[in-house]
């Protein structure tokens, strides 16, 4: 409509591949490095968004809407996961007064 296609104008698909890879890596880094469970969840969301970005990029590139539907489902799942995740955190917080994942190491060995 406004833009025929971004890939017609010189931006290569590689750009988005790299971009989403970097985003994914940042998400992973966040998951690894943060100890606040909520932030960790947020970093997982970043990972999912990286995937979404990639999907959409491919979708546009291939001119195929399936991937965008997939992204839609990813969002659905992400919402469900976030709900569950947050309720687990609430549960944990109720017991522990903290959501520091470093504290949850009763189970080991």
């Amino acid at each position: 409509m406004i833009l025929a296609s971004i890939f017609e104008s010189g931006v290569s698909i590689q750009f988005y591949i790299v971009l989403s890879t970097i985003l994914f890596a940042i998400g992973v880094l966040g998951v690894l490095i943060r100890k606040n469970a909520i932030i960790v969840l947020m970093c997982v969301e970043i990972m999912l968004n990286a995937v979404n970005l990639l999907m959409v990029a491919f979708s546009t590139y291939f001119g195929n809407g399936d991937a965008q539907v997939f992204v839609f489902f990813i969002m659905v799942v992400a919402a469900a996961e976030a709900t569950i995740g947050l309720s687990i955190l609430v549960l944990l917080y109720r017991n522990n007064r903290s959501v520091d994942i470093g504290l949850f190491n009763k189970l080991k060995g």
């Binding site: 992973v28 998951v31 690894l32 490095i33 100890k35 960790v40 994942i101 470093g102 949850f104 190491n105 009763k106 189970l107 080991k108 060995g109």
Partner: protein
């Protein structure tokens, strides 16, 4: 009844006697038990006599096939020929007398029935040994007598003081015999691999008629192995130390097994295998020298022994050595002759010593005896006859039989003859020494013993008398050629013929002149020893001193040349050491250690891996990332 039927009967009687006594002996009255056993043995003897007179040619009796395989056919069969029957007669004859003697001697023993069971079984085993028609049967009997001997040596196993020692003596006897048996067994394997059969007759045919021989080395190996077997059973160097220890058994046992019969099994084996030995001159030489050495060593040791039975035991070893000298020279009939006379007088001596011991209330130390001449005259007389016979007193049986061997030795090699004579001299000295110490002088035992000294019952004296008569006249069996020309060498001729196709190849007899000369020397030696001993022990009544006070050669003699100690040091201790060390280090530490080490290693790595599971979720994710990175690296490497 034909020979075919009679020969198995010879075997059957003692077996049945043994079985009946073994099962019901405890419940039967003692007299019945004893008589039954004696009867079994006597019946056997009678049957053997019947066979003896009927036998014209070797008879082989097939009983049943035992092992029937592709290249191994062994059957239980018997061979009755002059040689085996002669041995049977000795065994059952002497055996019957000893049975009779035991009825009196063992009267007060708790294991009366057991004793007779063993005796009968021994007779049975011994008969299998001599009657078997092949080496396999021989081996059966060979080991069977070993077992009976084992049980009889350790007969008084529950004795408070000596029970364990008796057991150890028995074990030693058995194990030493086993070593010999192993040699024999290997010999059997060699024969099998070379000739494919173990039947005497077939082997003899192959060797003497068909002249199919193995290589000299093979023949040497075969005969050497057989000889090793013989050294075990017949107590030759190096396997002789068990025999003196075996005196731990009751005296009749010593008489029967360790003097008259079992120990001559080795001689019998060599005589039976003469066709092999004839083709193995090297073995014969070895046999000769070993016999010579044994004879000398045993005689030397006997010089300073003070246990009445030990002296006799060493004398037996010495005489057996003599026999091997004879065999080494190929004088087979001479050897059998001496075996016969030796059986007479050695059985007599042992039974006599049994009578003495019986009279002395189980005292065996000659230093604690003395002056028994008057107290037990019959025993004294018979013992004297036995002593004279063994020392080669003129015209007694030992005189002739020894003389034949000596004669062969003289014609074989003068040096050997000299050494042999020296050994005979030693024999005469220690026998007379013992005789005088026991029967002359004053009584040195306790008062109680003195009170008890008495002659045994008739069942004990009768065998003594019979054996004494045999010892005196036994020489008649094989008189040298200078007397009674027609009847001379009866036994030799008897044995040379009709021995299952394996006629004995006998060395030449010395001519009469030399025989006479040798006889004179022998008589001189015997009488000289008699006189010296009489002077030292009879007249002056010297009593042997305690072992501790001895010195020089006497000490060595009293300590049996330290051979037991040497064996202990060389074989027993290292084995025990190996056993202990092997268990501790190889078994527990090494082999078990490896297994446990494995288990421990796995356990430890388990602990290690467990540490990986830190319980921290971001570490888990880190490892997952690591896994992903690893996989992608794998991709980068692979593509």
């Amino acid at each position: 009844m034909s020979v075919q039927q009679l020969v198995p009967l010879i075997l059957l009687f003692p077996l049945i006697g043994g079985i009946i006594n073994g099962i019901f002996g405890k419940k039967l009255p003692k007299a019945l038990v004893g008589s039954l056993a004696t009867l079994a043995s006597t019946l056997s003897f009678a049957t053997a006599l019947m066979v003896f007179f009927q036998l014209n040619e070797p008879v082989k009796i097939h009983l049943f096939r035992m092992i029937d395989l592709e290249d191994l056919r062994l059957s239980a069969s018997l061979l009755a020929d002059n040689l085996s029957l002669w041995m049977v007669l000795i065994i059952t004859g002497i055996g019957s007398l000893i049975h009779l003697f035991s009825m009196g001697y063992m009267k007060h023993d708790a294991g009366y029935s057991k004793f007779f069971t063993y005796l009968n079984l021994f007779i049975f085993a011994m008969l299998i040994l001599v009657l078997g028609s092949n080496y396999f049967m021989l081996f059966f009997g060979w080991e069977g007598v070993g077992i009976c001997s084992y049980f009889l040596i350790g007969f008084h196993y529950s004795d408070a003081e000596k029970g364990m020692l008796n057991g150890i003596a028995a074990r030693k006897a058995f194990i030493m015999n086993r070593i010999g048996d192993l040699g024999l067994l290997i010999g059997l394997f060699l024969i099998l691999s070379q000739f494919g059969t173990l039947e005497y007759q077939e082997l003899a045919n192959i060797v003497t008629v068909d002249k199919i021989l193995g290589t000299p080395w093979m023949m040497f190996g075969i005969t050497m192995c057989l000889f090793i077997g013989a050294t075990g059973k017949s107590a030759q160097i190096p396997l002789f130390t068990w025999l003196p220890d075996a005196m731990a058994g009751p005296t009749p046992v010593s008489a029967l097994i360790h003097a008259a019969t079992m120990v001559t099994a080795g001689i019998f084996l060599v005589v039976r295998s003469n066709f092999f030995f004839e083709h193995a001159p090297m073995t014969q030489e070895i046999m000769l020298y070993i016999g010579l050495a044994t004879s000398l060593v045993a005689a030397f040791i006997a010089m300073r022994q003070n246990d009445i039975k030990k002296v006799l035991a060493y004398s037996t070893v010495s005489q057996l050595g003599l026999l091997f000298v004879a065999l080494g020279m190929g004088a087979y009939t001479a050897a059998i002759f001496h075996v016969t006379t030796h059986a007479f007088f050695k059985a007599l001596l042992f039974l006599g010593s049994g009578s003495v011991i019986h009279a002395m209330s189980d005292e065996q130390d000659i230093r604690k005896m003395g002056g028994l001449r008057k107290k037990i005259p019959l025993t004294h007389l018979t013992f004297l006859i036995g002593t004279l016979a063994i020392t080669g007193f003129p015209l007694l049986s030992g005189f002739f039989s020894k003389d034949e061997i000596v004669g062969h030795a003289f014609s074989h090699n003068v040096v050997i003859y000299g050494i042999l004579m020296f050994s005979i001299l030693l024999t005469a000295i220690y026998m007379f020494r013992m005789y005088f110490v026991v029967f002359f002088g004053t009584f040195r035992g306790t008062h109680e013993q003195e009170h008890h000294v008495h002659e045994g019952p008739a069942s004990m004296t009768l065998p003594l008398v019979i054996l004494a008569i045999l010892s005196v006249f036994g020489g008649l069996l094989n008189l040298p050629g200078i007397w009674l020309k027609g009847q001379a060498h009866w036994l030799s001729h008897h044995l040379e013929h009709n021995t299952g196709g394996l006629n004995l190849i006998e060395a030449e007899h010395a001519d009469n002149g030399i025989t006479l000369m040798l006889m004179i020397i022998a008589v001189a030696v015997c009488l000289g020893a008699l006189v010296v001993c009489y002077l030292v022990y009879g007249k002056k009544q010297n009593v042997p001193v305690e072992d501790a006070e001895l010195s020089g050669w006497q000490k060595i003699s009293a300590n049996k040349l330290y051979i037991d100690e040497i064996y202990n040091f060389l074989f027993v201790r290292p084995t025990e050491w190996l056993s202990v060390v092997g268990h501790k280090f190889i078994e527990i530490m090494f082999l078990n250690g490896i297994i446990l080490g494995f288990a421990k290693g796995i356990g430890a790595s388990g602990e290690l891996v467990k540490k990986w599971q830190t319980g921290r979720v971001n570490w888990y994710i880190l490892w997952m990332v690591g896994g992903i990175v690893g996989l992608i690296v794998y991709y980068l490497v692979k593509i």
